[in-house]
Subunit: 322 residues, 2 copies
DNA sequence: TGACTCCTTGCACATATGTTCAGAGTGCTT
DNA sequence: AAGCACTCTGAACATATGTGCAAGGAGTCA
């Protein structure tokens, strides 16, 4: 065998691929794989880790479709939303909940996003957690769009949002369109003016053509307020105004009431999130919710018809359907 | 919590599903899962085994499409066939090779077969090995058709073939259309007559409408002859006649020469396998080959244009492209 | 009810896998 | 060539997982 050797010496990925095939498909033990690959068992273990982490190995749980859990069915009947209820023990802390829901979503998100698609993404604690666990998936000509601005008056919220978005764009090998504006303008007129800029129009057009939107819901007045509400984006007066207007939550810093209405909420005129009508035009709208403090806000978002697919931990799902 | 408990007590499958979710998606340890499910770690281990064996967990290896192995690319260029080359150590015995290739095919076959499809299946050592490892997949209104008769003059080849076919039909929850005829008739006229029977016409029609065909190639004159050639289906005179006619192999007991031609091979007039033209009309034609003794036969099948997808062990693939 | 089979469970042990760590290799700089 | 920062390796250890086995139901039958 002069030149036509086993794998055409591409690189380490190739070994990982072979190892994965031998391990997951042919059921060999790592020891055996080590022999075939002329390396140590430890290395095989590492190769396999890499294979999983880099998305070479794709593990899916395929629930026999005739058996959506009782709660999932209830949610579908009641809200016309496909729910994915994630098992999390009742005694788990809110941090645990978030982490576990985020992990699940990160693992499955690839199913919803593919080449040539545009995905709009909000930012906040939940998206942050999700972004940290994404399984890479190779796509072509895909695009990530930031849904709402992230600057605030006193800190570098920009970096925070940027980092989240960049993780998505890296994992999916997608172009990233950032939204370099504050979360809220001081004067609605500034926004109106800014929106006419050419760069902004391109971004807004992308938002209008999204295939998938990914977001959580914010819950301003719960025991565990969301990132926006504690990060210095809103002052006390503004919070009071929201409360007066009957706001129960937000999606991408667009606020709504319990019945899903948004009219006459002053802050919305200065915010940078997408019109809810734009969101509703998006074919797939994925909402991630962890922790029952978000139930009221979630109900509002459901009433507003913002969601098509809901990822939610079991306890919160139960709370949702009472 | 009076009646609305965690999973709506359906059954054991439900636990398996939850366990799989927790293990494969949320990366919990079996110990932790045991706690959440209020059972022992051993039981969780068993639940997970069941989840894998019953196809609840689907593990796929997704080669970055831009990196088909060198050999796979060569085969594609040379024969216009999508090859799946399976890593098997060079020193592996033929039995090992077969077993490992069969396992791989059995695991991935679900990708090619779905609801409302018709799959034609041949029988023989290779199909036998594949049938033993199939991962179940739930389908509706699917149909398995036997490609060629399995009776012979002296033993119960029927049971052998039946068992193979039944394994497929069970795994995919598909109806099974058997082919209750001998592998070869003694007199071509009998076949002609039989083919006019209504029951047979229905079967032949199904073969004509197959979406997928699954088969290996037989190698009559190699060191390791295939099942047909040692099972008492052919006597010495018949073998000699094949040899005289320049036959190099068969697919579903239809014989062909090295150039893929079949004209003037007398045994074909008495055989029960599908016309090669029928086979060639099938959109997807999956051939499974393990062991380099089948290379010549495989070349013939490729020349005859019988194959669209080829599963083959690495050594044999190398032999194929020299 | 008692005898029986069949199935499930958890324990204890045997294996298999993940991870730390010290040392070897590589490429770059001086 | 020596120094340095870096990455990769395999041995040894720490965990996690798979499995034989005996014990404990649940169902059936006489």
């Amino acid at each position: 065998m002069p030149h036509s050797n086993d794998p055409p010496l591409s690189d380490r990925t190739n070994d990982a691929l072979t190892a994965a095939q031998l391990y997951y498909v042919q059921d060999l033990t790592m020891e055996a794989i080590a022999q075939e690959l002329h390396t140590s068992r430890s290395s095989v273990s590492r190769l396999l880790s890499q294979a999983r982490a880099s998305g070479l190995v794709d593990i899916q749980i395929r629930s026999p479709l005739d058996a959506p859990s009782r709660v999932e069915k209830l949610i579908l009947d009641r809200f016309q939303v496909t729910a994915h209820v994630l098992p999390v023990p009742d005694h788990a802390s809110d941090v645990d909940r978030l982490e576990r829901v985020a992990l699940s979503v990160a693992r499955i998100l690839g199913e919803f996003f593919d080449s040539n698609m545009i995905m709009g993404i909000a930012w906040g604690s939940t998206m942050n957690a999700v972004s940290r666990h994404l399984t890479p998936k190779r796509t072509h000509n895909a695009q990530i769009v930031q849904l709402n601005g992230a600057g605030n008056t006193r800190s570098t919220g920009l970096d925070y949002a940027n980092e989240i978005l960049r993780r998505f764009s890296n994992a999916y090998d997608a172009r990233l369109e950032q939204f370099p504006v504050p979360t809220f303008f001081d004067d609605p007129a500034t926004r109106t003016a800014y929106w006419r800029e050419r760069g902004l129009r391109r971004l807004l057009e992308m938002q209008g053509n999204m295939d998938v939107a990914l977001f959580s819901v914010g819950s301003p007045f719960s025991m565990v307020p969301s990132h926006v509400y504690v990060g210095g984006y809103l002052d006390d007066d503004e919070l009071a105004a929201l409360s007066d207007a009957g706001v129960v939550g937000d999606v991408a810093t667009v606020f709504y009431r319990a019945d899903g209405s948004t009219d006459g909420i002053p802050l919305n005129d200065r915010g940078t999130g997408p019109e809810l009508s734009v969101l509703r035009r998006t074919p797939r709208r994925i909402c991630v919710v962890a922790g029952s403090s978000k139930v009221d806000s979630l109900r509002g978002a459901l009433a507003a018809g913002l969601i098509t697919d809901l990822f939610i931990d079991e306890g919160t799902a139960r709370a949702l359907v009472e």
